[in-house]
Symmetry: C2
């Protein structure tokens, strides 16, 4: 099955293709109408502090759903799905180290496993594009550049670490619009955390991002920084829980919720 | 000490007056500049589901802070305070039944106690009054009327129950303004859940509220309904946890956070 095979399809088609192994690729460009989510699965004992961490840092950690302990079905936003099989690819961390990558985590699921579905940038960029703000990394088909900053997240229990931001070059005359549009959607990152001066965030070289690929900032443009959904996963890895399951980068979970539903809820 | 004694004072003065027993009265009208919060204290085992419940129902359950297990100090929004002594009056529920009312809960505090500070209507009404929306219950010095509705909250674990709403009569021409102003502050209840037709919420008689006191809706006014912070406490009582500590009605906790800080965060 190619990307084309899931473009414009509904979430059930994506879940089934992942479950049967027919789909083992990144999820950008599939089921475009629906919200995709980052996945973090933790044992119940660690889930409470991680949930508090997300609540204390809502800009980088926009929670879409937190499942009932032991239940692999996200009943609120993806009824009928099984989080143990319905993503194309998973990563398993043990003690904070990447232990393996696989397509099915049924045998790792515990009675006390709690899944966190965390908003990803697709919904956020949907709002910007709808407002007429151009996004260069999408035009060029690259990953957005992301940077670890000198801004500390508010810790909760074992979970602490720096805020990670994504950068998008925005024409100066559109910066107010980009700010206003994203301020209206606190459910996915909200307003920028910084505009224009990367050094104030401790970013030494824009051309050397910590994640993703560099992106040119042209004359007449400002670099605009938003809190990034990579933050909670990076923080969870650093807390080194005994076992943690996540999606593989780019291989996200497709929910039943449309972008419009998320942006207006 | 009279109300006048704490009007315009800072939070430390209120904490000390509560701790020493000098203040044993409702907190309306004291430390006016600062955000007051509803209190719910649960053992860690129940706290995770209650936190998920609040996250799933953000309009009635605006979380201001969730403390570290066992720590009676709300370090983020009221550093230096002690939640075991610094409220004027507490209620203790056992198995969902009101067991006692007291001024100090030090001997009930456990190593796994988790405190939830939940936004109260004062901050919310501050935003409305600042925008020029008149509030009759404040003019008349009564409690706002509150109603249990036929709208179910999204449950989480043992926690479930109906949405409780507060009603404020608003002149029809100011309803758009009241809606816009409160939509901008999702951190305290957000936009109205309903405008104009109480029967759609299952409210039979506006003059017979479930909590608070009735309030006249005059000609040219509409009844406007907002999600109410009484909801999470009512839901927690119905879940009948082994032990739960709350503030006594009207006897709230004063944080260090100003209304402006809350409304702009």
């Amino acid at each position: 099955m190619t990307t084309v095979g899931l473009a414009g399809r509904n979430p059930e088609a994506a879940w089934e293709a992942c479950r049967t192994g027919a789909w083992d690729s990144p999820t950008a460009g599939i089921c475009e109408e629906y919200v995709q989510a980052n996945l973090v699965v933790l044992p119940w004992a660690e889930a409470f502090d991680f949930l508090r961490f997300c609540g204390r840092n809502p800009k980088p950690c926009p929670l879409i759903e937190v499942t009932d302990p032991g239940d692999p079905e996200p009943r609120l936003t993806a009824a009928g799905a099984d989080l143990r099989t319905d993503l194309p690819r998973y990563r398993v961390y043990r003690g904070g180290e990447l232990a393996e990558e696989r397509q099915d985590v049924r045998d790792l699921w515990r009675e006390d496993s709690v899944a966190f579905l965390i908003g990803c940038s697709f919904s956020f960029e949907h709002a910007l594009l709808s407002a007429g703000v151009p996004l260069r990394h999408i035009e060029e088909g690259t990953n957005v550049p992301m940077y670890r900053t000198n801004v500390a997240c508010t810790p909760a229990g074992e979970f602490s670490g720096p805020l990670v931001v994504s950068m998008r070059p925005i024409p100066a005359e559109l910066v107010p619009l980009a700010t206003t549009v994203t301020a209206r959607v606190p459910q996915v990152h909200g307003a920028p955390v910084h505009i224009g001066a990367p050094e104030a965030l401790g970013i030494g070289d824009l051309e050397d991002p910590d994640y993703g690929e560099p992106l040119e900032v042209r004359e007449g443009e400002l670099p605009v920084f938003w809190a990034c959904g990579v933050t909670p996963q990076a923080v969870a890895v650093e807390a080194a829980p005994e076992v943690m399951i996540t999606h593989s980068p780019g291989h996200m979970f497709v929910t039943r919720m449309t972008h419009e539903e998320l942006l207006t809820r």
